[in-house]
């Protein structure tokens, strides 16, 4: 059985390292800062409009590498399968990972598979590790935001979270929203080429834009002010959130990024982003201020302001 699964991955991922059948892959890296990251993927349902767990496992890690301003090059993948998981579904996930890896320009060079007893897992869990290289001098970090910086968002928020929510068994509503899951490596390469001195790069995944902005404010010891009108949210996403009592700011994204740069660099960065498929709707949504309380505030359409807070735990639907 295990051999069968190995064959399936070797065929799908098809690259010289994997074909050597070693327990490791030996790789050469170009000059620059080496970047490494790892992430575990547990998602329910496994397949959702616009993607599946395999695509997420590649794009999520590719994007984490890219958020260091680096070009992702190699991935490893570990699979924990629940006994009885349909082989057809696994093949579908492997094909989807292979396609995502091709799109992102990375090779899945080594991996491992374990099968656990029925009931000890939830179908399949995937862990991926990514390696990439950042050009010399490019070193964005969440503690590098400075007062005066512009906050740039790459596109509309909430698509992924709503697409997944809509498929949850207990919820199931019809929507045309599909996940925004996408590799951001090309976008980041274009951004770094236009503005090497990007202060902060983050992808607002779990916890949404609200969590990401709060992390940046906290780590950089600054305040952030964003403009409600400048943050794009699709009508379908707003409607779904309205119905469920959720805030799009707290909803997960898988193909968006936030960049903080000096105000003077903002226009050049936005222009470069808009030339890329995953940055077409890029816009400046706010700016950084000095604030010891590290608050993230939003100027509302009413001309007032409100706090954008971290969310305590999972977003819980309101009763009425």
């Amino acid at each position: 059985m295990t051999q069968l699964i190995d064959e399936l991955f070797v065929a799908a991922f098809d690259n010289p390292w994997l074909s050597q059948r070693n327990d490791q892959a030996a790789i050469e890296l170009p000059e620059g800062r080496t970047v490494i990251t790892t992430d575990g993927f547990v998602v329910s349902p496994l397949f959702f409009p616009g993607g599946d767990i395999g695509m997420l496992a590649v794009n999520g890690t590719v994007n984490d590498v890219a958020m260091a301003g680096a070009r992702p090059l190699y991935l490893s993948a570990a699979f924990i399968l629940e006994e009885g998981f349909p082989l057809g579904d696994l093949a579908r996930i492997a094909e989807s990972m292979a396609a995502a890896a091709r799109t992102a320009g990375v090779a899945i060079v080594t991996g491992d598979t374990k099968v656990v007893q029925r009931g000890s897992g939830d179908g399949v869990f995937i862990a991926t590790t990514g390696v990439g290289v950042a050009p010399p001098g490019v070193a964005p970090s969440a503690d590098s935001a400075r007062p005066g910086d512009a906050v740039v968002l790459s596109g509309p928020i909430g698509d992924h979270g709503v697409a997944v929510l809509a498929q949850r068994e207990a919820l199931r509503f019809e929507t045309t929203v599909t996940s925004d899951t996408a590799p951001l490596a090309e976008l980041v390469a274009a951004m770094v080429a236009a503005v090497p001195d990007i202060h902060v790069l983050r992808d607002p995944t779990r916890g949404g834009l609200a969590a990401t902005l709060n992390e940046i404010a906290d780590q950089s010891a600054v305040g952030i002010v964003v403009d409600e009108r400048a943050i794009p949210v699709r009508g379908e996403v707003r409607a779904a959130c309205e119905l469920l009592g959720l805030d799009p700011l707290n909803i997960a994204n898988e193909g968006r990024l936030v960049a903080l740069v000096a105000a003077a660099d903002a226009d050049r960065l936005v222009d470069a982003m808009r030339g890329q498929p995953h940055g077409r709707d890029a816009a400046v949504i706010g700016h950084v201020i000095a604030d010891d309380r590290r608050f993230v505030q939003m100027r509302t359409t009413f001309g007032g302001s409100r706090l954008i807070d971290w969310l305590a735990g999972e977003p819980l639907p309101r009763i009425c």
């Binding site: 009592g245 009413f302 001309g303 302001s305 706090l307 807070d309 309101r318 009763i319």
Partner: protein
Amino acid sequence: MRYLDEFRDGAIARSLATQIAERAQPDRSYRLMEFCGGHTHTISRYDLEGLLPANVTLIHGPGCPVCILPVGRVDQAVALSLSHEVILCCYGDVMRVPGSDDTSLIKARSHGADVRIVYSSTDALALAQSMPDRQVVFLAIGFETTAPATAAVVLRAEALGLTNFSVLCYHVLTPPALDALLGPPADPARPMAEIDGFIGPGHVSTVIGAEIYRALLDRHDKPMVVSGFEPIDILQSVAMLLDLLNDDRSEVAIQYRRVVTWAGNRKAQDMLAKVFAVRDAFEWRGLGSLPDSAYRLADRFAHLDAERRFPLPQHTVADNPACECPDILRGTKHPLDCRIFGTACTPETPVGACMVSSEGACAAYYTYGRGREARTAAQ
């Protein structure tokens, strides 16, 4: 989004704010209580208090079904989830309400209880149908707004002859709570807030109708405007209340005309009458024990009543003395008056129920209003 964006329009809001300022007579004050937690949430999210003149103040009422659930009732639900091998289904925001000894349904889940969040009472019923060998209990909370949805599944379970489904019914009623807010305090040491008029419940009134408030408010000589939940709705209701107060008219008016009628939803009312009986009294956090203020299942449906089917602890538990929730729910204190607000008590580690639900006054201030403290304190 049609029918929403219009009610969130900044220019209309500023125009209404100007109208309110013109109507507010400088020599008097207007203390208006919004009954519903949904209103409190909107007021805080859109910073509506910032648009009002200093002599028009909003007092946040007890209309959050999660917040008024007393500790003893939370303990019952937790005990049921832990000791009888049931699947307990509940609405999301009741999960974190603290019971005694640092318990809650979300913590019970980490101790092995099978507690599941549902979006609708029908999800709980469907679960019972799909798992005939498990007992499924629906924790029914809410005012008259959610009670018809509970009534519908009780009737459906009865028609299907389900033996593995029951309801733990904590539905509460709005008019008795309004009456209590305007009447003499149960405990003279804990007075009620001074209220000049009410921003009345919107969705509750779609079910029970606005007519029911007329006699009640006439008796207490106070006006009410039944209001929608969008910021423009609330500002318009404030303007309407100021008109009524300036003319000294203790009337009930409906601002939320797009859904509220004087008679309400007769079909829903018939279902409520069929399925529920009114309890002699029910304990409300903050307001104490109020007569005729909650539903239980009618005797005809006793076999679907979790309170009668499972032995549950029966006790009343005092609130944490450091927590000001009782005074906040009666409108005599502001969340920022509480010593543990934002320190010991946060949405992550709530001490009082007002910090749990996003409709609770404390959670609304914590989530949206920190940073506005200076202005509020200055008032």
